[in-house]
Symmetry: C2
């Protein structure tokens, strides 16, 4: 049997620092659990642009297609703000999503009990919050053609196209229903079927797929109302299924409800490969945080928890994932805090590396 | 001199009830201030569909084009859920917006001090909140062509088109900058320029228009981050300018921060007419609330405050608008509450009509 393989793309900003902590955990699992990962590392985003003039080299793309899972840190930074659209750091990430065909983006919005007071929302509104947002990730207005800036009647016009085929809506919906089956069996689908025909088709296809999951209670909500309801009473939701653009906004809104962005992981999954594992990329929800990069202040938990998702969804190591998540929760309960989570009086923030060590100690 | 003219479209659900309170105030202004409005009334939404088979009759559309301002209650209801897309109640509203060319939608998100505890957010995060969202209302993915559900490679595909010309972006931007000049001189423009070419053009045009307003501090934010920042620290914003679809979602998110949707008005403004007044439609942000329609429980304040916006933006009666707004605030401070705002112990909710009377008494 070959070892499970992992491509690590630390990327920009705090990406490398938080990823260093994940590598400690990978090593720990090799030592203590006897599961050795074949780890390779490469560049993405601004780091790749600096070396190759593109935010993702073809060789890196090819590697990503071959490994069992990709783990990404973060991309972007002010240094790259003036680059042309086609070579911006984000394009590296978007290329990975598209070419690996990672259509199902899982974004848990979970409020850790020890951190509920960091939320801008009242404690009782968010404590115990545990939503899973499934965002369609390879289609919609992110990739639809025609797109671009064109000349028309003597002025320019910016065009993007929202496009969803039945197949695209359906495969994402199936992954959302499957998740709902393992959770509280409630799925809310969000679109703007009152305004957009693509939303009408979305609602129709999700309803049809729902017939295969009679145990799941399916509801539909307009995306604007969805944003309201997330703010008003987020605990009403279990799984939310929505498109690429709505998912971008609604999942960020949901993430911020928890008040601790530095804690939130994500998984982007595609179709099963020959070995039965889904194509997969894991990344923290937070960005590259250039303002604190290199200072050892970043919170590595989101990246560590992204690796926990990899253990669960790519490597059939659900128990190990549970243990890793429990270790993170224990560390928080013990009051260990990186700078992003230590505005309480008298709590001294620990460094990125101390946080990683604390998680390992808790394991 | 002719009287100022007003077309009232109560619409569906609680629309007629809340509008009845506005009519009391219009009468009061006629009596006490000697300003008589020529008021006509007509149907929109489901109510128009029931009578004419369309959610807005051509004659009503023609009337709307002629009056100084339109005041709309709300449209929609479960009775109309299964209607064809083309005759749904919402289409009546969208037709008004499009044919009157109401490109600038002003949505204040204001937190009334007496109501700050209704917010799901902590008091200190929202008390004193006063944001103005300017949403482009006549273009973007709401109206772009091609649109529809098409057959392609043996399956259906739902298509909508995001389309913005420089002219469209610019005229909305000017109205946003003008508002910022009258407020705290800060404008944040939101798009997804990292993903969408239409967002790139948006950012470029807004930046260019900003050169004409050197006193206004202009910033740009990706819309997903915008959603996060609205939840995290909404008071950082003064005026926000964004497109039709982002505006739909972000303004609803912002509205819900205040916790009292029943209080929020909106204005949709177009180009100046021959008499110098802008084409204008005013409507509450809340919907038709079919669950409580006809029971006298609805909060008329959002509709009353929409009329206050009409006084300010259509009729040059800013002082009268200030007085009306102050009257509403006084009534709230006195503890008068409709059902939506009375979950406090010992507070007995008043009826829609009592609330209207209380506002008049405070005037
Ligand atoms: C970085 C950016 C391209 C990306 C997106 O818009 O999808 C990010 O916001 C995300 O949600 O992962
Ligand atoms: C009713 C609907 C068509 C409308 C919109 O999407 O614009 C509403 O949500 C709004 O924001 O005014």
């Amino acid at each position: 049997m070959t070892n499970p393989s992992l491509l690590i793309l630390p990327g920009d900003g705090i990406g490398p620092e938080v990823m260093a902590e994940v590598r400690k955990i990978i090593d720990w699992i090799g030592d203590k659990r006897g599961v050795t990962f074949d780890v390779s590392e490469d560049l993405v985003g601004g780091a790749a642009y600096d070396k190759h003039g593109v935010p993702l080299a073809d060789e890196t793309m090819a590697k990503a297609q071959e490994v069992d899972a990709v783990l990404l840190g973060a991309v972007g930074g002010p240094k790259y703000d003036d680059l042309d659209f086609s070579v911006k750091p984000e394009r590296g990430l978007l290329r990975l999503r598209k070419e690996m065909d990672l259509y199902s983006n899982l974004r848990p919005a979970q409020c850790f009990d020890a951190l509920a007071d960091f939320s801008s929302l009242k404690r009782d509104i968010v404590s115990g919050l545990d939503i899973m947002i499934v965002r369609e990730l390879t289609s919609g207005v992110y990739f639809g053609e025609p797109r671009g800036i064109f000349e028309e009647n003597g002025e320019r016009v910016g065009i993007n196209t929202q496009r969803y085929t039945e197949t695209e809506i359906e495969r994402g919906a199936r992954s959302a229903f499957e998740l709902a089956m393992k959770r509280n069996k409630r799925l809310c689908s969000m679109e703007k079927a009152n305004v957009m025909e693509s939303g009408i088709l979305w609602r129709e296809v999700v309803t049809r797929v729902g017939k295969d999951y009679p145990e799941v209670e399916l509801s539909h909500m307009y995306a604007d109302n969805g944003a309201m309801q997330l703010v008003r009473a987020p605990k009403q939701f279990d799984v939310i299924y929505t498109d690429n653009l709505f998912g971008d906004i609604l999942s960020d809104c949901a993430a911020m409800l928890t008040g601790s962005l530095g804690m939130l992981p994500s998984a982007s999954l595609g179709a099963p490969m020959a070995n039965g594992r889904p194509k997969a990329l894991y990344e923290p929800v937070h960005g590259s945080a250039p303002d604190i990069a290199g200072e050892g202040k970043a919170n590595p938990c989101a990246c560590i928890l992204s690796f926990a998702m990899a253990l669960r969804y790519s490597f059939d190591m659900g128990d190990e994932a549970d243990r890793l998540e429990a270790a993170v929760e224990k560390v928080l309960a013990d009051g260990v805090r990186t700078g992003d989570l230590s505005n309480e009086e008298g709590v001294k923030p620990v460094s990125t590396s101390d946080m990683g060590d604390a998680v390992i100690a808790a394991l």
